[in-house]
């Protein structure tokens, strides 16, 4: 709320200042795509895992979510952080990106899965498991240069 007020103030200030605003609309674009991992037999009878658009999705299927970002602006973007709340019907499986952090408490606290604990239904404190993850986020160490783009991904299983 407080941040919102500051934002509004800043917007007002900047509007007064110059047409070359530090707030160019759509400076950064973020898109999300989802694929389903299917085992497909090739001509030699070997089974391969391929990513397909999610045509038929049933419980137990592994989904791969791909987030594409693009800095369309003219300046590098700092403190770049992408946050993805897990859809309720998806159990987190992991990400290949070691810089990703997860939350098991709705985004209040963050860390790698191995460092997180939570209270079970009976009140005992236990180590967090993948299916406990509520959010995943990536905080970029380096600025995203103008014009740069990249992809982030994580996978989950349909509960």
């Amino acid at each position: 709320m407080k941040q919102g007020v500051i934002m509004k103030f800043l917007i007002a200030m900047l509007a007064l200042l110059a047409p070359a605003s530090a707030f160019a609309a759509n400076e950064v674009a973020l898109q999300s795509a989802v694929f389903v991992e299917k085992a497909v037999a090739d001509s030699d009878g070997r089974t391969k895992l391929v990513l397909e658009p999610p045509r038929v999705v049933v419980p137990g299927d592994r989904l791969v979510f791909v987030l594409s970002y693009h800095n369309n602006g003219h300046a590098p973007a700092n403190d770049f952080m992408v946050t993805n709340p897990l859809p309720g019907s998806v159990a987190y499986q992991g990400t290949t990106d070691p810089s990703a952090q997860v939350s098991v408490d709705g985004g209040r606290s963050w860390g790698t899965l191995a460092t997180l604990k939570l209270h079970d239904h009976d009140g005992t404190l236990r180590s967090a498991r993948p299916e406990d993850v509520t959010h995943v986020r990536w905080a970029m160490k380096r600025a995203i240069p103008a014009g740069a783009q990249g992809k982030l991904s994580f996978s989950g299983v349909v509960r």
Binding site: M7, L10, A22, F23, E27, V28, A29, L30, Q31, S32, A33, V34, P54, R55, V56, V57, V58, P59, G60, R62, L63, F65, L67, G73, A75, P76, A77, N78, D79, F80, M81, V82, T83, N84, P85, P87, S89, V90, A91, Q93, G94, T95, T96, D97, P98, S99, A100, Q101, G111, T112, L113, A114, T115, R129, P130, K141, I144, V157, V158, R159
Partner: protein, 360 residues
């Protein structure tokens, strides 16, 4: 900060490896559930925090119907013991829905081509086969309480129902006869109570916007049931367990009017003959015989019943009966001599009834 990141990186790699094993999902997200995913990005330009950017349109994935169910023999893998002429012979099955949707399950019982479930060879058919659902949930068939069905209506997600195959055993069957019965379940569309839904088939071709169907059921291993066919078959059998009785009638001349005793007595008028009726339940018979009743009609013979001579529960000793207690018909002038044995006759044992007559 950098150092912290490195630590995270190491731990991150570790946990990714630990994620290899997929957890099992028994129940599953209900079919028709929409999974939507959206993400947001926060960043700064020139030290100024910019407005949060959200993904333009959330991804929408509709969870489809995964049909997964089983039909299994219930209550242990053993045959149902029945007797010849048994009017209500019951085998019990359980149908379980592990789909992510309510389904109906069409049911049919078959006997043709079904082999014995628990050893032996199928050699007869039970008659008057009908199916009942365990209405009161006690896993025991209760005539008049459990409802006759041809399909299971609205089988809940993760729900199970017990189904009884109820039939009659022909009176002519003998010990060791086996009748195998298979219960076939076929997945049908649920969600309309009281009506058997259409047979579910896997949606072919492109995904539809709505709920598609994927048949994911496995096979029970019997003919006519393969993986992913929406059909599940289990079998059980009835085995006739009965007493196998044989009867032998022996006689000996106890005495004659000129003073000879067995074995020298002669069959002349006035001689006394002892009849010994022996009944044996064969070794290996499936059940003891209870209330064994013996009768011997002597009306056509030129003999007269010796009043009070009839004994039951006698010990069989070779061709003779010994011991026993006076019982059965014993009145003067009896022409149809009868007696009911007191104790059940176990397999491999014999019992006798004996009485005396005078040659006219």
């Amino acid at each position: 900060m950098n150092r912290l990141r490195k630590i995270f990186a190491v731990i991150g790699g570790f946990s990714a490896a630990a994620l290899g094993a997929s957890p099992a999902f028994a129940l599953g997200t209900a079919s028709g559930t929409v999974i939507s995913n959206s993400a947001s990005v926060t960043y700064q330009i020139g030290g100024v925090t910019q407005p949060t950017v959200n993904t333009a349109t959330p991804n929408l994935v509709t969870v489809d119907r995964k049909v997964l169910f089983t039909v299994t023999e219930f209550g242990g893998a053993f045959t149902t013991q029945v007797g010849p002429g048994q009017a209500v012979a019951v085998t019990t099955f359980q149908v379980t829905n592990n789909s992510n949707d309510i389904i109906d399950v069409g049911l049919s019982a078959t006997q043709a081509g079904v082999t014995a479930a628990h050893g032996g060879t199928d050699n007869f058919d039970v008659t008057g086969v009908s199916l009942f659902v365990d209405t009161n949930g006690n896993n025991i068939y209760d005539a008049g309480t459990d409802t006759a069905i041809t399909f299971l209506d609205e089988l809940a997600v993760n729900g199970s129902k017990t189904v009884f195959v109820v039939a009659s055993v022909p009176l002519a069957q003998v010990n060791g006869d086996i009748a195998a019965v298979a219960l076939t379940g076929q997945a049908r569309a649920g969600n309309v109570a009281g009506t058997q839904g259409a047979i579910l088939t896997s949606t072919v071709g492109a995904n539809t916007a709505g709920v598609d169907t994927v048949l994911a059921d496995l096979t029970g291993g019997l003919t006519g049931d393969v993986n992913y066919d929406g059909i599940y078959i289990a079998k059980d059998d009835y085995t006739v367990q009965t007493a196998t009785l044989s009867v032998v009638k022996q006689s000996r001349i106890v005495s004659d009017p000129v003073g000879n005793a067995f074995p020298n007595a002669k069959a002349i008028p006035g001689a006394i003959i002892e009849y010994c009726i022996q009944v044996t339940n064969a070794a290996g018979a499936g059940a003891p015989a209870t209330s064994v009743q013996l009768s011997d009609n002597i009306s056509s013979l030129p003999v007269t019943f010796v009043t009070g001579s009839n004994k039951i529960d006698a010990t069989v000793s070779g061709a003779n009966c010994t011991g026993g207690t006076t019982g059965g018909t014993n009145a003067a002038g009896t022409t149809n001599v009868q007696g009911t044995m007191t104790n059940p006759l176990a397999a491999g044992t014999s019992v006798g009834m004996y009485f005396q007559v005078t040659i006219n």
